[in-house]
């Protein structure tokens, strides 16, 4: 089953490079997305209550992997439905070869992200995370403009260099496991964590945080993120922000899992909390007064990754809150990036000041822009409200009152900073030039967005027992 999950997107993705018939390409994209989600849902029950294992334990779907894989799969499905309409609409003028590269890279990107969720061998995990960078770089360059080229270059260089440090961390981890014959299998490392050499383990943890933290977009290593997210097509931004960042975080969490088992206690918690708050503060500075709405969303991702880092750093309820927040952020941010794609297509500009009256011009899009904003920034009732509350409560419960206060203050600043542009864009009269063009919104472009919103809204007052169970198990696994 795991092999299928992994091979399906990879193989179809490779095939897509050779196809030159646009409807077939779009069909391949949709088919793979549906099949991937179906397989993921079937894995939820577990095969007879057992965790699925493949490749002699190199691949295993544990609770944390299941959670991140489900987010990725669900978001990819939404993005694929949206993407088919996107490729038919705005991009029909692009040559078929162009679309083939897009669909091919998109599917391989899904395959590599799946591998990140499944990998239990930390060397394999590194290979998978670096592969996500390589598969997604051509996607950012889809529009072939000089700006997207610059974004692609920065993304490639900064992320590759960052991740190279994580490879060093992986080798250090192997040194730390000297008495375990240098194994890098997660299960062995956690099981016999007492035999690890702690100084090397600590250095490895720091390198993992710096290396994978670059990919996660934790400040001050986030500089590639606003460029890449804002220049990429909507579908890609949605996946980068909603799926990729989480998956990169999994790299850090795996090592924390080992550190927890090795009784390092609170080691690294301060680092995560500090980086988390710094990310939130950096994001807040750039969100207030931001003039480009896609960059606004990108900085919001930096902020939310900060929330995750604070939650994971606090541990206990904070871990559950952070995991839950990963779900909410992915749904909410995915929906907003897709909505931003509709707005960009209608208005032909990314400047906040030139977009007015979305509600009037594109009713469904306008509504979702507003609702999505409320859901993402944690206005009740929404899942994000609950999860941010959990993280804040964990801070106060742990006696870290200062962290709790700063956390809540930064959330408030971001909320206010984001409220103005969102309200201004939604309300008012559309510019005459845009109104004359009479942009249309198709059902396929609004439906996936609405469903994502429904998800994050529902999680605000009803968390299904299965999800609650999964969150608890994942938190226990990661050493809350």
């Amino acid at each position: 089953m795991l092999n299928w999950l992994l091979l399906l997107p990879m193989v179809v993705g490779l095939l897509a490079f050779a196809v030159r018939f646009k409807p077939v390409l779009q069909g391949m994209l949709l088919f793979t997305a549906v099949a991937h989600t179906t397989l993921t849902v079937r894995l939820w029950g577990g095969e007879g209550g057992q965790e699925a294992v493949a490749w002699h334990g190199w691949l295993q779907l544990d609770a944390a992997g299941t959670l991140f894989l489900s987010i990725t799969s669900l978001l990819f499905l939404a993005a694929a439905v949206y993407g088919v309409s996107y490729l038919r609409g705005e991009c029909h003028r692009y040559p078929a070869g162009h679309q083939a590269v897009f669909v091919g890279c998109l599917l391989i990107f899904l395959g590599t992200m799946t591998l990140v969720c499944l990998a239990q061998h930390l060397g394999l995990l590194w290979v998978a995370i670096e592969a996500t960078t390589l598969a997604s770089a051509p996607l950012i360059y889809f529009h072939r403009s000089s700006r997207s080229l610059e974004a692609t270059w920065k993304y490639l260089v900064i992320c590759s260099v960052g991740i190279a440090l994580a490879l060093l961390g992986t080798f250090f981890l192997s040194i730390a496991a000297h008495r375990l014959e240098g194994t890098l299998i997660l299960g062995d490392l956690v099981g016999q964590a007492g035999l690890l050499l702690t100084p090397w383990l600590k250095v490895a943890f720091v390198l993992f945080v710096v290396g994978y933290g670059t990919k996660v977009g934790l400040a001050p290593l986030h500089t590639w993120l606003p460029d890449a997210h804002s220049e990429a097509p909507a579908v890609v931004s949605c996946l980068l922000s909603g799926a990729l960042l989480n998956n990169a975080f999994l790299g850090i969490l795996r090592l924390r899992q080992i550190c927890g088992a090795a009784d390092l206690g609170a080691f690294g918690h301060g680092t995560l909390i500090g980086l988390g708050l710094l990310s939130m503060a950096t994001a807040a500075i750039f969100i207030v007064g931001q003039t480009d709405y896609k960059r606004l969303l990108a900085y919001s991702s930096v902020e939310h990754m900060g929330v995750l880092a604070v939650g994971f750093g606090l541990g206990g309820w904070g871990t559950i809150g952070a995991l839950f927040h990963a779900v909410n952020h992915s749904l909410g941010k995915g929906l907003l990036f897709l909505t931003a794609g509709n707005i960009l297509e209608g208005y032909h500009t990314k400047a906040i000041a030139e977009v007015r009256g979305v509600r009037r011009l594109l009713p469904g899009t306008g509504l979702m822009w507003l609702f999505g904003f409320l859901a993402l920034t944690g206005a009740p009732p929404s899942g994000a409200f609950l999860s941010e509350l959990l993280v804040a409560a964990a801070a106060f419960k742990a006696g870290q009152n200062l962290v709790g206060v700063v956390f809540l203050a930064l959330l408030t600043v971001v909320f206010v900073g984001m409220a103005r542009p969102f309200l201004e864009m939604t309300g008012g009269e559309p510019p005459a030039a845009v109104a004359e063009r009479r942009p249309q919104e198709s059902v396929l472009r609004v439906l996936p967005i609405s469903l994502l919103w429904l998800g994050v809204f529902t999680l605000g007052w009803y968390v299904p027992p299965e999800l609650r169970d999964l969150l608890t198990r994942a938190a226990a696994l990661l050493g809350g």
């Binding site: 061998h121 390589l134 403009s145 080229l149 260089v157 260099v161 190279a164 060093l168």
Partner: protein
């Protein structure tokens, strides 16, 4: 074997210094290739004679990719994109060399203090790896040409690999091949991007300092 090992490590250090002090792109690429080949030979310095088949394959692939394919790709890029062969530095060459020497001193100092488990085959090992990593990072930030950023990335990876190979942290054949594949595809994608950069914006001429339209 220790003679060979130390000889190779010295070679790696010398190529680093060469890159820090040179102003010609051609020298960078050749030094990088030499370093890659030296790195591949590190696989053969283990105790107990000839290594296993898988390691031999790995060493050969490393040699071909780092010593042959990468330099070819980079030279092709320079030729076809008409890049200037002089490197414009942010930090001067003499200063770079001095910083390099200081970094070597620092790396030796740290290397002497790291409590490495197991048998340490050469005192030069850890300092060399750290110095190479530093050189890679320095080349990325201190040179304006985008090709030197690709080379800097390669040197950085070489440094990381020196740790991996020489400390015999055998991560397994499949993973090592995966890592190599990632680096290969990475450089390939970077070079394609460079081609596009050059075609898109003629006047840039691979000057990475011109890549600064995106900011807040």
């Amino acid at each position: 074997m220790t003679m060979l090992l130390e000889g190779l490590l010295v070679l790696i250090v010398l190529t680093n210094l060469l890159m820090l002090g040179s102003s010609r792109l051609g020298v960078y690429i050749r030094a990088g290739a030499l370093q890659g080949v030296g790195l591949a030979f590190l696989f053969f310095t283990g105790e107990g004679g000839w290594p296993e088949v898988s390691i031999t394959v790995l060493a050969l692939v490393t040699m071909v990719v780092k010593g042959g394919v990468f330099p070819m790709l980079l030279f092709r890029t320079i030729r076809q994109a008409g890049v200037r062969r002089e490197v414009e530095p942010y930090v001067g060459f003499t200063a770079s060399l001095l910083i390099g020497v200081a970094a070597w001193g620092f790396a030796s100092w740290v290397g002497g203090r790291l409590p490495l488990p197991g048998v340490i085959r050469s005192d030069l090992l850890v300092p060399t790896a750290m110095f190479t990593i530093f050189t890679g990072l320095f080349l990325i930030v201190a040179r304006r040409n985008a090709i030197t950023q690709v080379l800097g990335y390669l040197v950085l990876e070489n440094g990381v690999f020196t740790f991996g190979v020489a400390l015999e942290t055998s991560t397994s054949f499949l993973v090592e091949m995966g890592i190599l594949l990632d680096i290969f595809v990475g450089v390939f994608v970077m070079v394609i991007t460079l081609f596009q950069i050059n075609r898109e914006i003629e006047e840039i001429h691979m000057d990475s300092s011109k890549l600064s339209a995106l900011k807040d």
